[in-house]
């Protein structure tokens, strides 16, 4: 049997790897996910600073390098959604932005529903849930969070009224979101504890305590608050049925409940890269064009009636891998994803424009970092390294323990610890002594546990 021989090349005849640059195969593995017919490979991002140290390539974070390479290209931008390319950033950050967009950007949503009357077929709780999911057209940055003990006021609550009925003898009606009527002066329902006012001029106390009307505020005077869409069906009423309620919207975040998520979805995909490894001509080219369900490939005339396949629309590739299935197609076509090129899509629910949402999301990540790094400011670090005074009472021990602790004392002195100990009783087990846990309490200490094997 004849063996297939590969020509042997002496090691000193191999080409030199250029200094400061990765060899092409490693560069490919670093920057691309290779989508082979069975599974994608090289999906991980290599982030360790010394990963390529042996090749003289620095993989550490260079902000200058990042600044030079980072690009954003807006593809589509409307009031409700946007698509943009984010190039030269790691998946960790792209994903952080996506997660913040979905779960940590605040919006206003209906949280409390006070139902005065509901004779419709929809149960109160289902109705309240449906109302919660109605997107509101209001900038959440103008409002404050309402914590448990807060009184609902004009800064943290938006009140809507809904009163709809279907007259007897008429046909069924739909209750649409445009029937939610904004009450800028707050709730109109008086508290059940409130007695009929003796003084008719004083306003009875209601479920909210607004100091002023919201429509007198400059932000809302020309821009009344309401649902983003007017045609969301909230309920259907049969003849004689009626719904009367008040809905209170508060500020919240998507991680508490999805109704507060400012995006319908926010997602990204890495840019697909389709590479023809060999020239594909004639019938094979026709076959390739037919194989692709999303029409990535085109046929190009190269004269003399010869036809060649080209990659015309790599962006629309879904990486279904249909084109590398069967025979040895994977030797002709390579499917890859560019690891640092993200096609990011944001669909806003309407509270804020998508481009504002993204900017706010980046700001939130910035705030997180700032808060964390502020904790490690110098004066706090100093506080930490100051030695605590540690008097120790050994509840049981003998002379050998005493000698042992004497050593510890010297050791701790070197570390600037004040260390006092008092021996009480005796302890027979010493040799296997492994850990001593000491509990600090009001400047005093006790050995809580003498762990021994």
């Amino acid at each position: 049997m004849e063996e297939k021989k590969t020509p042997k090349i002496p090691v000193w005849d191999l080409p030199d790897v250029p200094k400061g640059k990765l060899p092409p195969h490693l560069e490919l593995q670093r920057t691309r996910v290779l989508c082979t017919s069975d599974a994608p490979t090289h999906t991980e991002n290599i982030r360790y600073s010394g990963a390529y140290a042996s090749m003289g390539v620095d993989n550490s974070l260079r902000l200058g390098h990042f600044r030079d390479n980072f690009r954003v290209e807006v593809i589509r931008l409307t009031e409700d959604d946007m698509e943009f390319d984010m190039i030269g950033i790691d998946a960790a950050l792209a994903n952080a932005f996506r997660r913040i967009l979905i779960a940590e950007l605040p919006t206003m949503a209906i949280e409390k529903v006070l139902i005065a009357n509901n004779t419709s077929v929809i149960q109160d709780e289902v109705l309240a849930h449906r109302l919660g999911l109605v997107p509101l057209r209001v900038d959440p940055r103008l409002f404050e969070y309402m914590s448990e003990n807060d009184v609902p006021n004009e800064k943290n609550t938006i009140v809507f009224k809904l009163h709809s009925r279907c007259e007897r003898g008429s046909s069924r009606v739909k209750v649409l979101s445009n029937e939610l009527q904004w009450l800028p002066r707050g709730s109109e329902f008086t508290l059940s504890t409130e007695k009929p006012a003796a003084d008719p001029t004083s306003r009875p106390r209601t479920y909210t305590s607004f100091n002023c009307s919201q429509d007198s505020l400059p932000d809302f005077s020309n821009n009344p608050i309401g649902p983003k869409h007017d045609d969301i069906i909230i309920a259907k009423l049969g003849p004689g049925q009626e719904i009367e309620l008040e809905a209170h919207a508060v500020k919240g975040m998507g991680k508490t409940h999805a109704k507060w998520s400012p995006v319908a979805t926010a997602w990204y995909r890495m840019l697909p890269e389709v590479v023809l490894l060999q020239e594909i001509e004639g019938e094979k080219a026709e076959e390739l064009v037919k194989k692709c369900p999303v029409k990535v490939f085109d046929i190009e005339d190269i004269g003399k009636g010869r036809k060649r396949a080209t990659v015309a629309r790599p962006r629309s590739c879904t990486l279904c891998r249909e084109c590398i299935r069967g025979d040895d197609w994977d030797k002709h076509v390579a499917l890859r994803r560019v690891k640092d090129h993200f096609i990011f899509t944001i669909e806003s629910t309407g509270a804020l424009n998508p481009e504002v949402l993204f900017t706010e999301a980046v700001k939130i990540l910035e705030d997180k970092c700032e808060r964390l790094s502020a904790l490690f400011s110098p004066h706090l670090l100093k506080q930490k390294t100051e030695s605590p005074k540690v008097p120790i009472f050994v509840t049981s021990g003998d002379l050998r323990i005493g000698a042992f602790f004497f050593e510890i004392r010297f050791f701790l002195k070197r570390l600037h610890f004040e260390f006092i100990f008092i021996l009480v009783g005796t302890c027979k087990l010493l040799m296997g002594l492994e850990t001593i846990m000491i509990d600090f309490y009001a400047g005093e200490c006790q050995i809580l546990q003498l762990a021994s094997e």
Partner: protein
């Protein structure tokens, strides 16, 4: 467990000294608690510590791991979420000798700078797009 016992247990977890006599080494561990961050480290070797952040998740931890890993002073870093129902994440940092908290602080600031650049680049791209769209809408014949 009574409430007093529980409080004691909590305190014990908050601040405890642990001494290891076995290999002739005495290691003093400290837990430094501040706001929502707890630092578990040792007095002798401040080059390694675990930072326990409450009310944080993958969003911050994974981004920090990204910047920390790219810091040449870091020999190891990783994070874990001990239990999915606790809003807590532990970030482990081991360095070549620098104080771990200093290195973490620096990578926080790196991340902040990255974010600032992302924001300004994004805003600029949006403005450019809007200008271009404005011109297109005007339908000026060349």
């Amino acid at each position: 467990m009574g409430s007093g016992e529980l409080a004691l247990e909590k305190r014990r977890q908050q601040l405890l000294l642990l001494m290891n006599f076995d290999c002739g080494l005495l290691i003093l561990l400290y837990d430094y608690c501040f706001d929502n961050v707890m630092e578990h480290g040792s007095y002798q070797d401040q080059s390694q510590a675990t930072f326990s952040l409450t009310d944080e998740d993958h969003t911050l931890a994974n981004s920090l791991r990204f910047t920390l890993n790219q810091d040449p002073r870091v020999t190891f870093c990783g994070y874990s979420i001990p239990h999915p129902s606790d809003a807590r994440v532990n970030i482990r940092v081991q360095t070549t000798g620098d104080q771990a908290s200093e290195v973490l602080k620096d990578s926080c600031q790196d991340l902040m700078l990255i974010c600032q650049h992302v924001r300004s680049t994004f805003d600029q791209a949006v403005v450019e797009f809007k200008n271009k769209k404005g011109l297109d809408a005007m339908n000026i014949e060349p």
